[in-house]
């Protein structure tokens, strides 16, 4: 492989093909009736409320929408739809924003990291990661349009189950992770907990602002807190700590980019979802280069 061939499949925060995706560009609570400057793919935009509408400037983007408490902007025609996050609008769920943070890690790397299930015992030993989750097993990866998904059956350290303290539940519990990665630079993670019966959904979205800056939004919705704001505050703190653990390793990278050329990295059977996500991004690049569009509905 020549160096040029390897560079050809690289995705970073300035890759032009990313303009064909939906991107979160602000939280709803940040938006007022004055133009709010935002950066996306190294370009300046403004967004503002005008009456019941939101508008963007200085140019007219292909699409602009407010959903899940975020402002979404697609600069150019996007064939990838916005994320489905039904839990956010379900009244039986409590919802919250975890901290919105900035990092030099690229959006593609952050999404890749959020899809990955093999790093828990190493990166998250200080929070939920346990040795029992070292071996990774997925139930098969499904490709549907511009989404890839799988389910991982794994283990974690439950630090917010009140019945762990009383000894009624074990500290190390099984969990089921449904991960849905999208070409729109986000992941919907649905955590199912057989021991407590709870469901916890997280929408993780990354806004590629500039070459060396990404803004990360983490939206939380869970159905086991019964409106308890103290437990939600603890949950937010826990989720912020988990993200900091990921950033601690990701921010050590020299190059903030992801390779869609599958020969650049070594992939194993534990990485099937990561491979499918790279293929998805590779097809987004191909569309930009005028090649055939992505295969729809195939199994990766």
């Amino acid at each position: 492989m020549t160096p040029t061939a390897a560079r050809a499949g690289v995705v970073d925060n300035t890759t032009p093909a990313l303009a064909r995706s939906w991107h979160a560009v602000a939280r709803s609570d940040e938006l007022g009736h004055e133009p709010l400057p935002v950066r996306l793919l190294d370009r300046n935009w403004t967004v503002e409320r005008r009456g019941h509408r939101i508008i963007a400037g200085p140019d007219v983007p292909w699409a602009l929408e407010e959903r899940y408490g975020l402002i979404w902007l697609a600069p150019r025609e996007s064939s990838a739809p916005l994320h489905d996050f039904p839990e956010w609008d379900d009244p039986t769920f409590d919802r919250a924003y975890a901290a919105t943070v900035r990092t030099p890690v690229s959006a593609a790397q952050l999404v890749d990291n959020f899809l990955d299930a093999a790093h828990f015992p190493f990166v998250h030993a200080g929070t939920f990661g346990v040795g029992e989750s070292a071996m990774v097993q997925d139930r098969g990866v499904v490709r549907e349009g511009w989404r890839v998904s799988t389910t991982f059956d794994t283990w974690y350290r439950n630090s917010d189950d009140p019945l762990v303290a009383t000894g009624e539940h074990p500290e190390i519990q099984p969990q089921q992770l449904v991960k849905i990665g999208s070409a729109s630079f986000g992941v919907l993670l649905r955590l199912g907990f057989p021991v407590t019966g709870a469901t916890f959904a997280i929408l993780f979205c990354c806004q590629p602002e500039t070459r060396r800056c990404t803004r990360v939004y983490k939206l939380l919705a869970r159905n086991d807190l019964g409106g308890d704001s103290t437990r939600m505050r603890d949950c937010i703190r826990h989720e912020d700590r988990i993200l900091r653990e990921d950033l601690a390793i990701l921010e050590r990278y020299e190059r903030m980019e992801l390779h869609t050329n599958l020969r650049v990295e070594v992939h194993t059977r534990a990485d099937r979802l990561s491979v499918a996500y790279r293929r998805l991004l590779g097809e987004l690049l191909a569309v930009e280069n005028g090649q055939r569009p992505g295969r729809e509905g195939s199994t990766a």
Partner: protein
């Protein structure tokens, strides 16, 4: 190729210092060489050097930990032995067959010598430099603190070997107005190394024997410059009347296109084992080098020209012309063996 930058691929086929030995306690530690990061770690008594990039997700292995004589990636726990072989992928479960592509290519050679860790990314074209004073117990060893300079290693080597700049650059230390004329000399070339020996008279006011009338002020000394490719230099001064030897070594680590790490050591057998006098000698060499840096930092180029027509050379510059010839030979040999 008519010039040599700090990241020229031919330099892969040479030994380079990459750290002091005491900087590599266990590791993993990241060092830069020729524009690439390497991870160094100790397993038993040996130091190992691997590319600082896990082949799985390209995470720096230096962000990991040492586990049972292997380096373990901090991201997914892949473990690598000193020879680069991948020996564990936790996500595949115990006893799983590991893909052959999971291994990394270690440095072709690693050594600890002269208080430094040296690596050669590819099979080296020549040996480590020779510093006999290092193993001679009559010498005191005074390392200068390693320093990072935004410069091309080739230009710093050129400056160290140059004999015509003393009265202009080193007015505050070793340079005197009488030194302007560079006496005729010849260069002894031996493979990818060379030496120049000159005997000359000089004023030696520091000699205590001069003050008490034992010896004349004007004395004789022999200077011998030894160079070995790519950036190892040794200057040995032997004092005829007063006796004693003063040796200075300079080893350069071309880290990135714009950065170089400098390792210098003073070796003296004429200071009666006095640590205070050795510290003074080290501080003096630092002052001399600081004078060199004033002008070296002003260079806007980051390469040493290897094309002899790119600059004007005189007979005073035979030694630095030979430097360019040897480095051109390194480039040609590395390209032939590729």
């Amino acid at each position: 190729m008519t010039e040599l930058t700090n990241v020229h691929p031919a330099l892969r086929s040479c030994w380079h210092p990459v750290a002091t030995t005491d900087e590599i306690v266990d590791g993993p530690a990241q060092v830069w060489l020729l524009g690439e990061p390497w991870v160094l770690f100790r397993a038993g008594s040996a130091v190992h050097a691997l590319p600082d990039r896990c082949p799985h997700r390209l995470a720096p292995l230096s962000a990991g930990t040492i586990v049972g004589g292997t380096v373990q990636c901090g991201y997914h726990g892949w473990r690598f032995a000193g020879d680069g072989r991948c020996c564990e992928i936790p996500a595949l479960g115990p006893g799983a067959a590991l893909p052959g592509r999971a291994s990394v290519r270690p440095a072709a050679a690693v050594a600890e010598r002269y208080g430094l860790v040296w690596i050669a990314p590819d099979e080296p074209l020549c040996d480590l430099p020779d510093v006999p004073e290092w193993d001679d117990p009559t010498f005191q060893i005074g390392p200068l603190a390693p320093q990072r300079v935004a410069a091309a290693a080739g230009l710093l080597a050129d400056n160290f070997l140059d004999m015509a700049h003393f009265p202009f650059v080193h007015r505050g230390t070793i340079g005197t107005h009488d030194d302007r004329l560079v006496a005729d000399y010849s260069v002894e070339r031996d493979g990818l190394s060379f030496a120049v020996t000159m005997t000359h008279s000089f004023s030696n006011p520091e000699d205590p024997g001069v003050a008490v009338g034992e010896r004349a002020l004007v004395q004789t000394r022999t200077m011998r410059y030894e160079y070995s490719a790519p950036f190892a230099m040794r200057l040995r001064l032997d004092y005829h009347e007063a006796g004693g030897t003063n040796t200075l070594t300079l080893f350069l680590q071309p880290e990135t296109l714009d950065s170089c790490r400098v390792y210098m050591t003073v070796l003296r057998n004429d200071l009666c084992g006095d640590p205070g006098r050795l510290a003074d000698a080290v501080a003096y060499e630092q002052r001399v080098f600081d004078e060199d840096l004033v002008i070296q930092r002003k260079y806007t180029t980051n390469a040493l020209p290897l094309d002899l027509t790119a600059e004007v050379h005189t007979r005073a510059d035979r030694i630095t012309v030979e430097l360019r010839r040897v480095l051109a030979e390194v480039v040609a040999s590395a390209e032939r063996s590729r």
